[in-house]
């Protein structure tokens, strides 16, 4: 099988940074199509273990609640396309636990007032690799996207997160926001973040933020002053990062499966964060 370019950044940048695309030998993608009808609401949980393509269209005033769990330790490629009509909303929650994953999410906010709200959490260890390419393409007037990514990296894991907010000409009054926070817990990790904003419309508001690395010193000092050792502080912070994503999932089975995959004890103290 020939190598294919995957996860192509909508605009290339310095070749030396190695983020423009991923090369993979790709097999067949199994295709899932979801159509959310006008005024309809659909909730779906997907466990993605091998190459999967999901294509979703949400008609006017429709609502999608999609949860995707990546807990396979095998090589995996996933594509997700979402198209949103007038006042349609898409809520996406993704959790990546380990593995060797290439994932692409392209959301087209075509409709007036369409909304895309996504929360992504990942935990990587050992030689895990993860390459995410997320594009929110705003062409609808007053469309809104909100992207929050929380990650924890350990071992010699490698991650690339490319997040693009693309304001097309005509997306008057559109608002896009994106934030990635990564905690790094081993000096062998590699973490690449590419928060892109493309803008061809005047009347928009775009915000991007990223923090990578250690936990804030003041935070550590405060916790230490209450008697908590530093490694424990990191452990707690890592857990908190993922918990904030997992709490957005309504499906109890999915929650349990994620907790298990993360090696968390399922039970009372999960909610303490």
């Amino acid at each position: 099988m020939a190598e294919t370019k995957l996860n192509i950044l909508p605009v290339p940048t310095f070749a030396s940074s190695g983020v423009n695309f991923v090369r993979r030998e790709t097999g067949e993608f199994s295709l899932t199509k979801i159509d959310v009808a006008k005024n309809d609401v659909q909730t779906l949980v997907q466990y993605i273990t091998d190459s999967t393509e999901t294509a979703v269209t949400v008609a006017d005033n429709g609502r999608l609640e999609l949860v995707q769990v990546f807990d396979s330790r095998e090589k995996c490629e996933a594509k997700l396309g979402i198209t949103l009509g007038d006042n349609a909303s898409g809520r996406l929650t993704q959790v990546y636990i380990g593995g060797d994953t290439v994932s692409e999410i392209v959301t087209k906010l075509v409709g007036y007032g369409s909304q895309f709200d996504t929360k992504i959490g990942y935990q990587l260890d050992g030689s895990d690799t993860l390459d995410i390419n997320l594009v929110a393409e705003h062409s609808g007037r007053k469309s809104i996207s909100e992207i929050a990514v929380n990650g924890v990296q350990n071992g010699s894991s490698s991650k690339t997160f490319k997040g693009t907010i693309d304001f097309k000409n005509g997306a008057v009054g559109a608002v896009g926001g994106e934030k990635e926070d990564v905690i790094l817990m081993n000096d062998k990790v590699r973490s690449r973040t590419v928060p892109v904003i493309l803008c061809a419309e005047e009347d928009v508001v775009g915000n991007h933020g990223a923090t990578v690395g250690r936990i804030d010193e003041h935070h550590i000092f405060y916790m230490k002053s209450r008697g908590i050792p530093e490694d424990k502080i990191y452990e707690m912070a890592a857990r908190a990062k993922l918990t904030s994503v997992i709490n957005c999932i309504a499906d109890a089975d999915a929650k349990e499966r994620i907790a298990k995959a993360l090696g968390w004890e399922v039970g009372g103290d999960d909610d303490e964060q």
Binding site: V11, S17, V182, V194, C199, G213
Partner: protein, 469 residues
């Protein structure tokens, strides 16, 4: 009210004038080994430099065009006269500078700037230095400020130049670095000895004048331990009708505990391809500060790079880019943290107007040994109309855990509420916009020496077609 005072309104022709190039002689347009040999002969290059140029040409021919960034399709390298010899040789005093060259400089305000006790003027006319004057003050403290070509022949500096020239930006870096290595001409050499702190800024003005002329000046600055310097590079060019190319190269070596501030305002004419490479290597405890304003050119690729190579080294980058009609300005910065406890701070603003395109592109690398490194990037973009475009493409690459990296980007427009507020106090809409844009650019202008800040504000006013006191 038509009689409002247009304070500091500058005459556009200031940047569009040019004089006949009567006495200058041209070389053939294309670049062949023969041309390179001719340049070497002309410059009386030492052997190593002659070889270096030919080797660079080979690299140039082998290196593919860059495949990302702004379009440079309009650039036809074979039609660019790469080298134009000015009619006068080195000058150390103003009186012997030819009259029409003098007029050009007069219009650009060089003599005035000098009067204001600036340390030295190395002005490049066409491709060669025509006027060079190092103030005694600088020389007395042992600071060497001269043109690179003659320094290469001075036994005192020959070795240090040979060991530093294009070592930081090797010809293999990219196609235009290779071109530069082959055809470079003119430029400055500054050497600041150990412990010397020069309080007055050194400045140079680069200009292109002849039609189709390329400019490949090389700036080499070496700061020894615990020394400090402020170097100002100002560029403006008259307008011509064929594509112009600027592929200069700046190499800055900042020694232990030394500190260098490198300020630039670029206002190339609107048909210029500005493919400039700037790089600094900073040793332990050293500091590089870049202040960069990009206003001119048709297409720019400009990403000054700082390599923080010793413990505690730091870099600061403050930049503004203003892309107007017909401009595609791709600017930003690169910072490589290659030692523990290094820190970097980047603060940029970009403005797009009248169909102009501005792209902010950056790279922050935290290497494996950059334990305890800190980096903070903040970029803001302002869209002034819906014909324009503004892209932000930062890359953060972290390879160790014990670091603290932050990035913030914002894009938006001038709010209607702000405009109404200013208009209710008597400003026209145009002036209100100009004022807000000037405020937006304030972070850069306050980092510049006063006369440059005034020049930058004038440029903004000019671009905004309005003026407020």
């Amino acid at each position: 009210m038509s009689n409002k005072t247009q304070v500091g309104d500058i005459d556009r022709s200031l940047y569009d004038f040019r004089y006949d190039e009567d006495e200058s002689d041209f070389l053939d347009s294309g670049i062949t080994p023969e041309i390179i040999a001719e340049i070497s002969k002309e410059k009386n290059d030492p052997d190593w430099m002659r070889e270096f140029r030919l080797k660079s040409l080979g690299i140039y021919n082998r290196t593919p065009m860059v495949e990302w960034g702004a379009s440079i399709e309009g650039l036809d390298i074979d039609n660019i006269v790469t080298y134009i010899r000015p009619k006068s040789r080195m000058n150390t005093d103003w009186d012997s500078v030819p009259e029409d060259i003098k007029n050009t400089f007069e219009k650009l305000g060089i003599p005035q700037a000098e009067r204001e006790s600036l340390a030295g003027v190395g002005a490049q006319y066409d491709s060669e230095l025509v006027y060079h004057n190092v103030r005694e003050e600088a020389a007395q403290s042992g600071v060497v400020y001269t043109d690179l070509e003659s320094a290469m022949h001075d036994p005192k500096y020959a070795d240090i130049i040979k060991s530093h020239f294009m070592k930081l930006v090797p010809p293999t870096d990219h196609k235009f670095a290779a071109l530069h290595g082959a055809v470079w001409s003119g430029g400055s050499f500054v050497y600041v000895p150990k412990g010397v702190k020069l309080d007055i800024p050194l400045q140079s003005y680069f200009r292109l004048n002849a039609k189709g002329a390329g400019q490949f000046e090389h700036t080499l600055i070496i700061l020894e331990e615990n020394s400090s310097l402020h170097f100002i590079e100002g560029c403006s060019a008259p307008k011509y009708y064929e594509a112009g190319l600027h592929a200069g190269c700046v190499e800055l070596y900042v020694g232990k505990g030394a500190s260098l501030r490198y300020s630039t305002i670029e206002n190339w004419s609107k048909n210029m391809y500005n493919l400039n490479t700037k790089r600094a290597l900073v040793e332990e405890g050293g500091k590089i500060e870049w202040v960069s304003g990009s206003f001119g050119s048709h297409v720019s690729y400009l990403y000054p790079m700082s390599i923080l190579n010793g413990r505690g080294a730091s870099a600061e980058f403050t930049g503004i880019t203003f892309a107007g009609e017909g401009q595609d300005l791709d600017t930003g910065a690169k910072i490589v943290h290659n030692a523990p406890e290094t820190s970097s701070y980047m603060n940029t603003k970009s403005i797009s107007k009248s169909g102009g395109k501005s792209t902010f592109r950056s790279l922050v690398v935290i290497g494996e040994n950059a334990v305890g490194a800190k980096s903070s990037v903040n970029c803001e973009s302002l869209m002034l109309d819906r014909q324009s475009r503004s892209d932000t493409i930062p890359v953060i690459d972290v390879r160790t855990d014990k670091c603290d990296v932050g990035h913030e980007a914002k894009i938006g427009r001038i709010s209607d509420a702000s405009i109404f507020y200013l208009m209710s106090r008597g400003l026209s809409e145009e002036d209100a916009r100009a004022m807000i844009v000037r405020g937006f650019a304030d972070n850069v202008s306050k980092e510049l020496p006063l006369e440059y800040a005034v020049e930058m504000n004038n440029l903004i006013k000019l671009e905004m077609h309005g003026s407020v006191g």
